[in-house]
């Protein structure tokens, strides 16, 4: 009788996982070519592994649903499952009667694309061309915000400014999300800033904008590996905020430049 040791099974499982990751990477190279080009293979592999862990947590463990989950991470941010600005996701992911994972994955997909359909006007014009400038303009406006500490008494005005700014540059997304959610975003940005040792108005606004554009979990997103080193660096607040602005602008430009040079697959 042939005996298979547990170590052999583990090796086989690792091999199967690696093969699966390769298949997802191939899928992403086709459907998410800019993510794949910007990050490179190993960082994208870490994205896939992150997606696999999260998808399994929600019972979406079929190959096809994991791929669908990773697709949505790329489109909405890796933390889309817990993003308060995307409240339609959690009920589908956490429903008690989990049922067929493929059917649930399809429902998640449909809900995501219904949402994307409502906000896409902020990202692309009627001909499908990307609207690059408004992202850069928004960051540039944020850079003009004072560095002074945000006093408690000034916070309501800060929240109103954030509402106005986001509604100006991202009207479709601001409308889809709603005023209450943006007000809550301002609060979360302030708490997140505190965690990152930021207390100035400029830094808090930048975090709020990036949370709005890139997803609530942008500061811990394997798709955005340039963020965390800046925020955790041993440097003063002004330096880190300036670097975050510069890197944000640079990465957005690289992203959209790739669209110009590589519009198809």
């Amino acid at each position: 009788m042939l005996i298979i040791r547990q170590t052999q099974i583990d090796v086989l499982a690792q091999l199967r996982l690696r093969e699966f990751e390769d298949r997802v990477l191939e899928h992403l190279r086709h459907w998410m070519p800019r993510h794949s080009l910007l990050l490179g293979e190993e960082p994208m592999r870490r994205v896939v592994q992150h997606g696999l862990r999260k998808a399994r947590r929600y019972g979406l463990d079929s190959e096809c649903t994991v791929i669908g989950y990773v697709d949505l991470m790329c489109l909405l941010g890796s933390g889309f499952d817990t993003d308060p600005l995307l409240p339609w996701a959690a009920p589908i992911l956490t429903e008690a009667a989990r049922g067929d994972p493929v059917e649930r994955g399809d429902r998640l997909y449909d809900a995501a694309w219904e949402y994307i359909g409502r906000i896409v006007a902020d990202y692309r014009d009627q001909d499908g061309k990307p609207l690059t400038e408004r992202l850069v303009l928004l960051l540039r406006e944020g850079r003009a915000t004072p560095r002074e500490e945000l006093a408690e008494a000034a916070f309501p005005a800060f929240g109103e400014d954030l509402q106005r700014t986001l509604a100006t540059y991202f009207p479709a997304k601001a409308a889809a999300v709603g005023e209450a959610q943006i007000a809550a975003l301002a609060q979360r940005a302030r708490r997140r800033a505190d965690q990152h040792r930021l207390s100035g108005q400029r830094g808090i606004l930048l975090l709020a904008v990036l949370m709005f554009i890139l997803g609530d979990g942008f500061d811990n997103d394997p798709l955005l590996p340039w963020v965390s080193p800046i925020l955790t660096a041993d440097a003063d607040e002004a330096t880190r905020v300036d670097r975050l602005f510069a890197s944000g602008t640079e990465n957005l430009r690289r992203w959209w430049d790739m669209e110009k040079t590589n519009p198809g697959h």
Partner: protein, 517 residues
């Protein structure tokens, strides 16, 4: 980042297994083969996907993207060949055929599965009932079957299926595919029947001419894109002789400025200014002139005048036509066909040099005679008798000869646009006489011919028949509002092809410009 472009497939259709990711077990049920995509393809060695009416493929690289749309429908220009720019630049949006493939994914063998194709038609406005044969839509050929099937290969691809749109402009199609044993149906489209043609404008550098915007709109209304090709200009130095005249020669009180005059005397040389382009095979040549004049076939009748002064008083010659005049030099040959002065037994010749056309003449059928040296000085008591026959010309508002079109632009944009639309309309065989219409269309309801006005076949929508002795029938249509009415009528022309003409034009494939005769 929601700025991403192509939409990836949903989990049930992304081609991956429904087994747990990284599973090492052998008990996972096979994922049943199912249709994952229906795409448009183009054979450009190698074959690739056409994005637009269909999505990008999960397997086949994108070759090109359709951009020409009307509303949500993608335009299919049925009057152009797919390979007019070469096989490596094959145009999926040209010709009546669109090429489609479906793909199946799943576990187990993917070959030998049957994919069924069907289409849904949304008829264009006033599509005639009973379209059959070559003008009808279908799979594999013009007028082909309403459905077709194709077997998949080992990779799950169906064969390339051709769907041929109808020949009726505005018809829209959505094509569907489904595995023969059921499952989700995939669709692609819509595709809409359009035609495309170009115009090359040739004009004098000194003659500013606007783009024919109303014509472009009129043709868009019958689903035809009318596009500008490279313009050609000419100067007096590069134009044939007899092209430029001072305006007073061709128009009363016209002034000294020189204007282009094109007609039978020089138009063949202007025809040569047409630049054929393989990639624009349906191209009309709009030769724009300020005046269209043709030399009359025969000289005037004999003018017999008694001169009492030299130069003479203004002489009016009966030309017998409202649209005729005397210009110097003559459009063709000599101005004086026959000329003689006499006084008693003395006589001599009158030549072109003795004909005076003044800037202030009171009509373009008028001139003066300055007697040549050697002729006596006329007086009331001793007049000099002059006998003359002059070659003259007639002026017109435009004409077409297949793709060569002579168009007058005198600053009246409406008349100009009507003329452009009208001559192209003739080029696309409007207005057909009974029996010449494309089946299954019935007789054109408002057709008429030369005997009721104009030259060639025309349309009398909204016109009334009036008495006119100059036509062979004694009657003429007056006040027509269709582009295809025989007279330039900027104040009443609606700048559209009327309801009677529209279906006839829409059923033309417009693959050539050939004047209706």
């Amino acid at each position: 980042m929601c700025g991403s472009g192509d939409k990836p497939p949903k989990p049930s259709e992304n081609g991956a297994s429904s087994c747990p990711a990284g599973s090492t077990t052998q008990t996972c049920p096979l994922k049943k083969p199912h249709l994952v995509e229906l795409i448009e393809v183009v054979a450009r060695s190698p074959e690739g996907t056409v994005v637009g009416a269909g999505a990008a493929s999960g397997k086949l690289a994108t070759k090109t993207t359709r951009t020409d749309k009307k509303g949500a429908a993608y335009k299919q220009f049925i009057n152009l060949g797919k390979d007019i720019d070469g096989a490596d630049k094959r145009h999926p949006e040209y010709s009546r055929a669109v090429e489609l493939r479906a793909r199946v994914e799943g576990e187990g063998s993917l070959s030998g599965l049957t994919v069924n194709f069907r289409y849904v038609l949304t008829p264009g406005k006033d599509r005639p009932a009973g379209m059959t044969g070559g003008v009808k839509e279908g799979f594999s050929s013009d007028g082909g079957a309403a459905t077709t099937s194709s077997s998949t290969d080992a990779e799950g691809w169906s064969g390339t299926v051709e769907f041929h749109l109808s020949q009726y402009a505005g018809d829209q199609y959505e094509v569907f595919a489904q595995l023969s044993d059921g499952g989700a149906e995939k669709s692609i489209g819509k595709f809409e029947v359009w035609r495309k043609f170009w115009y090359q404008m040739t004009r004098a550098t000194t003659h500013a001419v606007p783009a024919p915007a109303k014509s472009v709109t009129a043709y868009a209304a019958v689903c035809a894109d009318m596009l500008a090709a490279t313009e050609v200009t000419f100067t007096k130095a590069t134009a044939p002789a007899g092209t430029f005249y001072p305006a007073y020669m061709v128009r009363k009180n016209g002034g000294d400025g020189e204007e282009s005059v094109i007609g039978n005397h020089n138009r063949d040389q202007f025809y040569l200014k047409f630049s054929p382009e393989p990639g624009k095979p349906v191209k009309g040549h709009l030769i724009i002139c300020r005046n269209q004049w043709d030399p009359a076939a025969a000289p005037t009748g004999l003018v017999n005048e008694s001169l009492t002064t030299d130069p003479s008083a203004e002489i009016t010659v009966a030309l017998g036509q409202w649209n005729a005049g005397i210009v110097k030099p003559a459009l063709k040959g000599s101005l004086v066909s026959f000329g003689q002065w006499t006084q008693g037994a003395n006589s001599g010749a009158i030549t072109d040099a003795d004909i005076v056309i003044e800037k202030t003449r009171s009509g373009i059928d008028r001139f003066k005679v300055k007697l040549p040296a050697g002729a006596p000085a006329p007086t009331a008591a001793a007049p000099v008798n002059v006998k003359l026959k002059l070659n003259y010309g007639t002026y017109w508002g435009g004409e077409s000869n297949d793709h060569q079109m002579l168009i007058v632009y005198d600053g009246d944009d409406k008349a100009f646009n009507q003329a452009v639309s009208h001559e192209f309309g003739h080029g696309f065989a409007l207005t057909p006489s009974d029996g010449k219409q494309t089946a299954p269309l019935t007789k054109h309801a408002t057709y008429y011919y030369n005997d009721q006005g104009g030259q060639g076949p025309h349309c009398h929508t909204d016109a009334t028949l009036v008495v006119d002795a100059s036509t062979s029938s004694g009657k003429r249509w007056s006040g027509g509002t269709c582009i295809m009415y025989h007279q330039l009528s900027p104040s009443v022309c609606k700048q559209v092809f009327c309801a009677a003409c529209e279906p006839h034009l829409k059923l033309k494939d417009m693959s050539t410009i050939k004047t209706a005769r």
